[in-house]
């Protein structure tokens, strides 16, 4: 009966590991799909604006294709740089989680080992209460270690979600298409004819001015993002350092309890 309980415990550890692997995969999927969706919306907004402006100023696609592509590629590059920084943060948090989860399993396996020895020697230990207490203390130390690692896991879960939400918030703040550019004036038939005449002389000039504005806004975004990216990286380093301190404390307390 007791032996099968030990086997059940090992089976539960195995199942726990499988659940935790799925948890990590879904957590990444949520981060990737939610942020990717938002980034695509941003890029598509720019692509559609470029298309709209080309129609407005009577511009042929081929003539500005290279410049348009360059601007879109730069925008993606700036967004991806931000994405990579947040993703790296989440990867390092998840690695800490995996470490904590492994240590929990080691604690359970340790508990089982001590419980097995205690059971095998129970007759002798009943005549030696001091020794028996030592085994009980070691069992308890394993349980405490397991529970303490839950604190690290909780912190990591909160930090992961915070990271994702913060990135989404940062994406919301990005506006390479200004409010002024966003306004589409409804033109009358007469105004359309006037615009077509204007386009013959100045269409390219207006379109190039639009592209220059967008290009400048993307460059501004890049320079605004630089300190933010550093901040995200520093925040992550600080968080991981805190987790390492917590881990050392837990392991030291455990060593002290079982020595």
């Amino acid at each position: 009966m007791i032996k099968s309980k030990g086997m059940e415990l090992m089976e539960l550890i195995n199942q726990l590991g499988q659940i935790e692997t799925i948890d990590t995969e879904i957590t990444f999927a949520i981060f990737r799909s939610s942020t990717q969706k938002k980034m695509e919306e941003k890029v598509n907004e720019l692509i559609n604006k470029i298309k709209e402006q080309m129609i407005t100023y009577g511009i042929e696609n081929k003539e500005y294709e290279e410049q348009n592509d360059k601007i879109i590629a730069k925008y993606k590059e700036v967004l991806k740089k931000m994405y990579t920084e947040y993703e790296n943060s989440i990867i390092s948090i998840q690695l800490e989680m995996q470490e904590a989860e492994s240590n929990q399993k080691v604690a359970i396996a340790g508990f089982k080992k001590i419980a097995d020895i205690k059971r095998e020697n129970i007759a002798a230990l009943q005549n030696n209460p001091v020794q028996l207490q030592k085994y009980i203390d070691k069992e308890n130390a394993c349980i405490v270690k397991f529970n303490d690692y839950n604190t690290i896991l909780d912190e990591c879960l909160i930090e992961t979600e915070m990271c994702r939400k913060e990135f989404l918030k940062e994406l919301d703040k990005i506006h390479v298409i200004t409010e002024e550019m966003r306004l589409v004036k409804k033109a009358s038939k007469f105004q359309e004819i006037i615009q077509k005449i204007k386009n013959v002389f100045n269409g390219k000039k207006y379109y190039e001015a639009f592209l220059n504005n967008i290009e400048q806004n993307i460059l501004n975004l890049e320079s605004i993002n630089e300190p933010k990216i550093k901040e995200v990286s520093n925040q992550n380093v600080k968080f991981i350092a805190t987790i390492i301190v917590m881990r050392k404390k837990i392991n030291n307390s455990f060593k002290l309890a079982v020595s």
Partner: protein, 52 residues
């Protein structure tokens, strides 16, 4: 290039992330975490029994 609206610019090991909805992932994650809590509870119970 302007027609290339379906650009996926994040490489991912997950298969076709776009076909999934965030809500579905969130509810899967909720279920997985509930399952984990159940396993932890069971582990605690087995540990109590082994302690005797």
């Amino acid at each position: 290039m302007l027609e290339d609206l379906d650009v996926v610019f994040v490489d991912s090991q997950m298969v076709n992330l776009k076909s999934y909805e965030i809500d579905m992932f969130q509810s899967q994650l909720k279920k997985v975490r509930e399952k984990r809590t159940q396993k932890i509870r069971r582990i605690a119970k087995v540990i109590d029994e082994l302690k005797g």
